[in-house]
């Protein structure tokens, strides 16, 4: 489901807004609504990231099958190879 990815994205979103505030040399919790906003935006981006990776692997395997090549096994430990069958 990508729960880890969503969590990582959310926390990094909030962290990025805090770093943005630090860059502009204002107190870290200035504009707290942006913290919440980037929390959700980061979560959404994290989820889309993982979904996009899965879609790309499926597309690549389809193209490789069209060319007559064996499918590319995703050796990344974070993406388990899901057999489409």
């Amino acid at each position: 489901m990508g729960l880890t990815a969503m969590l990582v994205g959310s926390i990094s979103g909030t962290g990025l807004q805090m770093m943005n505030n630090a860059l502009q040399k204002v107190p870290l919790s200035r504009r707290p609504w942006l913290h919440v906003g980037y929390f959700f935006l980061g979560g959404y981006i994290g989820q889309r990231w993982v979904k996009l990776e899965k879609e790309l692997v499926i597309d690549i395997n389809e193209i490789r099958a069209d060319k007559g090549l064996p499918p590319m096994i995703a050796t990344n430990a974070w993406i388990k190879y899901e057999n489409p069958e």
């Binding site: 990025l16 860059l23 502009q24 040399k25 790309l56 690549i60 193209i63 974070w78």
Partner: protein, 513 residues
């Protein structure tokens, strides 16, 4: 229902119509007696236009077919789609970043944004050109807009100087392109990349060989001069390498990057390189693939020369812009090394390197644009290296960002630049180009010096007080923070870039893994 093939070009048509509208809109507002400053509004309108272009582009649900429209002069395949989407996203970023700089430098002409849109239109047509004439026209459209953008600062002779130099060199290189294409047309009778691919892709042509055409029953033997084709290809290659500013055609880029206003340099350094490389892929990897056995060696020599010039040239630079110009020259050298292998992994790592080059270029030029000196004499335009004195005391986080981007460009872990650079060295070793790999690794080490020198100036300089900068007030600094985050995050999880470039390279026509 819109079911004809030409509707695939709707994003570019939309961009063209909106450029025409913007010209009229800007003209009728800015020639009043009560002169309104519309620079900001036109800028935001341009961002909206490019965002809508992205929307129209990403909604083309037909991506995997090769549509050749307008009498086979424009091709719309996955390579053109992905490169156009990428360039459009990057240019939205660029637009957001230059807004504050233009206000500070008092470049109040609304034509600036319109020119950037024209250049983008030319770049989008380069990415999807299937004909030598279309490619030439799009290169000219893009280059003309860039010539004017380089000379946009009217009160600075430096800027006019840069524009004039760019114009002369750009026109010269375009004429070389035309000369090569005219010879190609004379030899083969066609300017279409698809037709040239059907003629020349898998045939091994020596000088004055006999070539039989089977499709037409009344033509049995046609003499095609392979040597003349190589002659023409040299001219086309030199012209495109001129545009990319590789050695020994790199001398114009230093003066132009130095003299143009920094927002224009931002565009020159980041955006057109991918488009020219897409054109190089289409001509030399898809159409004339078999000739790669002949020109490989020249490209390797050019790439090595570029890497050496980029590494050794940046050692002496005391101005920040010239330093970044030399670093982009050496990046083009590494990309050419990956391209010259001609293998599948070579193309893939070349595309990876180009994507990461654009991200790192965005980051470093945005930081450059965000820095604004508080006390400087009025004629000073560009930053020297000493202007970064003790930036860590002035703005700690910004110094951290700057050093991270610099170390990523240098190719040090734990930033993603390390991974893409290792990719380039791996493909060159795999193609048995050992000397090239050793030389480029050594030159990469040498170029690390001038990146680390900037880090030293920012953090460890022995002077009493550093230069003072205005605090960063723009709301878009979050984008710089995001880029910094991506540079670190992509080291941990580079799968997306790898898969994306893999998919593009798979869908390049006639590649065999």
């Amino acid at each position: 229902m819109l079911i004809f093939k030409e509707i695939q070009l709707l994003p570019e048509i939309f961009l063209g119509i909106s450029i025409i509208y913007l010209i009229i809109h800007g003209t009728f507002i800015s020639v009043n007696n009560k002169y309104l400053l519309i620079q900001n509004s036109i800028l935001y309108l341009s961002i909206l236009i490019i965002a809508m272009f992205c929307f129209l582009l990403l909604n083309n649900s037909i991506e995997y077919n090769n549509f050749q429209i307008f009498n086979n002069t424009i091709i719309l395949d996955y390579l053109s789609f992905s490169s156009k989407a990428w360039i459009a996203l990057i240019s939205i970023f660029c637009f957001l970043m230059v807004q504050r700089y233009l206000a500070v430098q008092k470049i109040n002409y609304f034509e600036y944004s319109v020119l950037i849109l024209f250049a983008l239109l030319g770049i989008f047509f380069i990415c999807s050109s299937n004909d030598l004439i279309t490619a030439y026209l799009s290169i000219e459209l893009q280059s003309l807009s860039f010539y004017i953008m380089a000379a946009m600062k009217k009160d600075s002779a430096f800027s006019a100087d840069a524009g004039l130099k760019y114009f002369i060199l750009g026109a010269f290189s375009s004429s070389l392109f035309l000369f090569g294409s005219s010879i190609l047309y004379g030899v083969s009778g066609t300017t279409n990349f698809e037709d040239l691919k059907n003629l020349f892709f898998l045939t091994y042509l020596e000088y004055e060989s006999i070539y039989g055409v089977d499709n037409y029953s009344f033509v049995k033997h046609v003499f095609i001069d392979g040597g003349l084709i190589q002659f023409a290809l040299v001219f086309i290659f030199v012209s495109l390498l001129f545009k990319l500013a590789v050695a020994p055609f790199h001398l114009w880029s230093l003066d132009i990057y130095e003299g143009s206003p920094s927002s224009s340099t931002f565009f020159f350094a980041v955006v057109p390189k991918l488009a020219i490389f897409i054109l190089i892929i289409r001509i030399f990897y898809s159409s004339f693939f078999e000739y790669s056995i002949k020109w490989r060696y020249y490209i390797v020599v050019v790439a090595m020369l570029t890497v050496i010039v980029g590494s050794f040239g940046g050692l002496e630079q005391k101005k920040l812009k010239s330093l970044l110009a030399y670093s982009s020259i050496s990046h083009m050298g590494y990309t050419l090394i990956a391209f010259s292998t001609g293998t599948f992994e070579g193309m893939q790592s070349m595309l990876c390197y180009l994507f990461l080059y654009m991200i790192a270029g965005l980051c470093i030029w945005s930081i450059f644009l965000l820095l604004q000196l508080k006390y400087k004499y009025s004629k000073k335009q560009n930053k020297d290296l000493t202007d970064l004195n003790l930036l860590s005391k002035s703005n700690n986080i910004l110094a951290l960002f700057f050093s991270t981007v610099l170390l990523s460009i240098a190719g040090l872990p734990p930033m993603v630049g390390f991974l893409v650079k290792i990719g380039i060295f791996l493909v060159s070793i795999e193609a048995s180009m050992y000397f090239v790999a050793i030389l480029s690794i050594l030159c990469s080490v040498i170029s690390t010096f001038y990146y680390i020198r900037i880090v030293k100036i920012m953090y460890f300089e022995n002077s009493v007080a550093g230069k003072l900068y205005y605090p960063i007030q723009s709301n878009i600094s979050i984008l710089v923070v995001c880029l910094f985050y991506f540079l670190l995050f992509l080291f941990v999880n580079p799968t997306l870039i790898y898969l994306f470039s893999y998919k593009i390279t798979l869908l390049l026509t006639m590649t065999v893994v």
